[in-house]
């Protein structure tokens, strides 16, 4: 059997250290569980039934989408109303049955559908009440969680890819390339980012991916600068000279040899970039320059909530959701930083 102590790489040691920091580790577990679960939201929180058994036939509305109410003998225009259908099935006691998702409200259904009311305060029916168009706040909150995290993760990854590529080349090649991008970065960083994003998205009316693109375009510089410094420092080390003397290509030296040695800032900044990404999305949505309207988003919910300030649940819910999410990411970030880039202070006494 291999001796484990001997073979732990520096990364494994750091990971062990991270795991020993409870707050961050549990936050990571809880948050990633919720995030993975949030991809199953259409099955958990939805107004379409999972399975309907009607006259010895089985239907799967959640998969097949639109099924007119007439199919189930329901006298309604358009799509079947499954919550009412469930009620009527159990009243009739005819052997027909259906299974609803755990939380039978969709984030998009408003007052136009089956008994939704505006501004309902939280109850056992609507856990966090309803908003100004009768949409269920809790359902929207959960869907927005998935969108926010996906947005921030994608954004951060993209930013880092550009940052590593450009910053790496700047640090590695130096010279005119470096000088040119330094000027560009200086110009770029003198602009108020958020304002530029607002301007661009006021012109383009962005979709999810376009918004990520715009944000990346504006925000790539922070990681670029860090990576430039890292590559610049590593470049002069002996192992790089050794790799070069063995005839390794620049590309291989940069990404196979230097990059693994300069990942510390990438990893330690990652959670905080995600925090910044989520905050930015909430901010843009609040100002009305984020994702297009029906998309569930915390910022838009907060905006509507603040226009109806007497309906406290409409303000508190998105703020609390954002707060808890960000808090757990900050905990993760703190743990990661402690594990990967520890600052050791000798104590006064």
């Amino acid at each position: 059997m291999i001796d484990k102590e001997k073979n732990t790489s520096i990364f494994q040691k750091r990971w062990q250290k991270f795991k020993s920091l409870r707050r961050g580790y549990y936050s990571l577990i809880i948050l990633s569980t919720f995030y993975i679960l949030s991809f199953l939201l259409p099955v958990i929180i939805n107004n379409k039934a999972l399975i309907v058994k009607y006259d010895s036939d089985y239907y799967f509305p959640i998969l097949s989408g639109y099924i007119p109410g007439k199919t189930f003998g329901q006298d309604v225009p358009g799509e079947a109303k499954y919550r009412i259908l469930k009620q009527s099935f159990s009243d009739e006691d005819s052997g027909n049955w259906l299974i609803m998702p755990l939380y039978p409200y969709s984030p998009f259904e408003d007052i136009t559908s089956e008994g939704n009311k505006m501004y309902e305060s939280p109850s056992s029916k609507h856990w966090l009440g309803t908003d100004n168009t009768g949409r269920d706040v809790f359902a929207r909150l959960c869907y927005a969680f998935n969108i926010s995290i996906s947005f921030a993760l994608l954004l951060t990854v993209l930013n880092y890819v550009f940052g590593i590529l450009i910053g790496g080349c700047m640090g590695y090649y130096g010279g005119k390339f470096d000088l040119f991008f330094q000027r560009l970065i200086e110009i770029w960083s003198s602009l108020p980012m958020l304002f530029v994003i607002i301007i661009i998205s006021s012109i383009l009316k962005p979709s999810f991916f376009l918004l990520i693109g715009i944000y990346t375009l504006v925000n790539w510089i922070s990681m670029t600068y860090l990576m430039r410094a890292e590559f610049y420092r590593e470049k002069s080390k002996d192992y790089v000279a050794a790799a070069l003397s063995m005839g390794q290509s620049d590309f291989k030296v940069m990404f196979k040899h230097i990059l693994p040695n300069s990942l510390v800032p990438v990893i330690t900044y990652f959670p905080f970039s995600v925090v910044a990404g989520i905050s930015a999305l909430v901010g843009l949505d609040y100002l009305g320059f984020g994702l297009a309207p029906p998309t569930p988003s915390w910022g838009q919910m907060l905006d509507v909530g603040l226009q109806n300030i007497s309906k406290w649940w409409m303000v508190f819910s998105p703020v609390a959701a954002q707060f808890l999410t960000l808090l757990s990411i900050v905990f993760i970030g703190e743990g990661v930083r402690e594990a990967f880039d520890p600052k050791v202070y000798s104590r006064l006494r």
């Binding site: 958020l194 304002f195 530029v196 006021s202 100002l287 909530g305 707060f323």
Partner: protein, 429 residues
């Protein structure tokens, strides 16, 4: 050192030009530039309102058709949309002559000169002669031939009868370099006039916020560093985590719900910079102070929270780092009192990172407040810029950017200067 800062000042110029070029291009090339936007609105008969639900009071969007063709033409001429983009940029900058005071005229067929009344000078009607040269060129001469005319003329088009439609104008160097930021579409006033009062409001708020956050964060950071690992340190860390995880403006929203009289307590006003002027004017000076503070408490809290976490942690880490240095050990070793070591030796060095942030204050004050100003309904600089985007008031948008970029560039230099002043080890070359 002086050469270093001189060079920094000079380097500001290309950076400033670069960022203005960038923004100018974004705004001008974008589908929906000022002219296209207005044309679209006219074609749609004003059906295209402002989206996003901002409470803008735009005369263009509210009335839809309010911009007559002459105004559109004037706008086009003001922006020089008949010119290539680089000229437009130079005009906007103020280094290329801007054509102003356009007056249309028509020269009938077979006529080679024309007398045009262009306005008044010294209380008398001012007329100039326009004469037609070979190749449809126009020349303008004053009535008394001695002086060179201020006016220039050019042919715009030849109508189907063969008459010439021309325009006569003056040239003027006026752009952002001469302090002319243009005229706002929505306020119908020069941009600088619109900005001035709002700038003051934002500055007032921002400086109060910054001052308070310094007053809280520095002592708190010191206390945390000195009692690192204690219950106090842990407790305040919780507060810091909370403050870091909630944007200041979102907390502002929660505070509004709690204290603004919506659902719970009715202690503070819902927003506004101060009471409306009808009430404000009737107040005694003392009441005015109270009223002002009353309106400011919630926004300033929201403002302060924004920098609370980072600044406290910065102060704490900086002091702890210094306390672990050798010179502190030496100071203890030679028998200095703890007070003296901490407050005189360590503290001075720990304030360096805080001091270097001073230059960024202005930029943050100005640009960071769209949210808070919108949330608390404060008629400040950030909200002005936000509403300018909503109502596509490009002169204000561009003017805002110019000011913010300038403030940031100057702020960077001030930061370096402050750093050099407080840290004798730093020598810029």
């Amino acid at each position: 050192m002086a050469t270093y800062f001189l060079r920094r000042l000079l380097l500001m110029i290309p950076t400033f030009l670069g960022s203005t070029v960038l923004v100018f291009i974004i705004l001008q090339m974008a589908p929906g530039g000022p002219i296209e936007q207005i044309m679209l609105q006219m074609q749609m008969g004003g059906a295209l309102g402002v989206e996003g639900g901002g409470g803008s009071s735009s005369s263009i969007t509210d009335e839809g058709m309010s911009l007559p063709p002459e105004a559109l033409k004037e706008l086009e001429r003001f922006y020089g949309f008949d010119k290539p983009i680089y000229q437009r940029y130079l005009i906007w900058l103020g280094v290329w002559p801007r054509e102003i005071k356009h007056r249309d005229f028509t020269i009938p067929v077979n006529q080679s000169s024309f007398e045009k009344r262009v306005g008044k000078k010294d209380g008398q009607i001012w007329k100039v002669d326009i004469s037609l040269l070979e190749g449809n060129k126009l020349i303008v001469t004053e009535k008394n031939q001695s002086t060179k005319s201020l006016w220039h003329a050019k042919v715009e088009e030849i109508d189907k009868n063969g008459g010439l439609n021309g325009v006569i104008f003056q040239k003027e160097f006026s752009g952002i370099l001469t302090g002319n930021l243009g005229k706002s579409y929505t306020y119908l006033q020069p941009v600088t006039e619109v900005m001035k009062p709002r700038f003051k409001i934002s500055l007032f708020f921002g400086l109060t916020g910054i001052l308070i956050s310094y007053l809280i964060c520095i002592p708190l950071g010191i206390r945390k560093a000195l009692s690192h690992g204690s219950v106090f340190d842990f407790g305040s860390s919780v507060a810091i985590f909370i403050a870091y995880s909630i944007p200041g403006w979102a907390l502002g929203g929660v505070l509004l719900v709690l204290f603004g009289g919506g659902s719970f307590l009715d202690i503070f006003p819902l927003g506004g910079f101060r009471s409306p002027s009808e009430i404000w004017d009737t107040l005694t000076p003392f009441q005015k102070i109270i009223d002002q503070i009353h309106h400011m408490i919630l926004p300033v809290i929201a403002w302060t929270i924004g920098s609370f976490a980072t600044m406290t942690v910065l102060m704490k880490n900086s002091l702890m780092e210094n306390l672990s240095q050798d010179y502190i050990r030496t100071a203890f070793a030679k028998g200095l009192s703890e007070k003296r070591v901490i407050w005189l030796h360590a503290m001075r060095n720990s304030l360096i990172p805080i001091a270097s942030g001073i230059g960024h204050i202005l930029g943050v004050v100005i640009a960071g407040s769209y949210f808070i100003e919108r949330m608390f309904n404060i008629d400040g600089f950030g909200r002005l810029a936000y509403e300018a985007i909503l109502s596509r008031d490009y002169p204000i948008t561009l003017g805002f950017l110019v000011i913010v970029v300038l403030l940031r560039l100057i702020g960077n230099i001030i930061s370096d200067l402050a750093l050099a002043l407080v840290d004798p080890r730093i020598r810029f070359k």
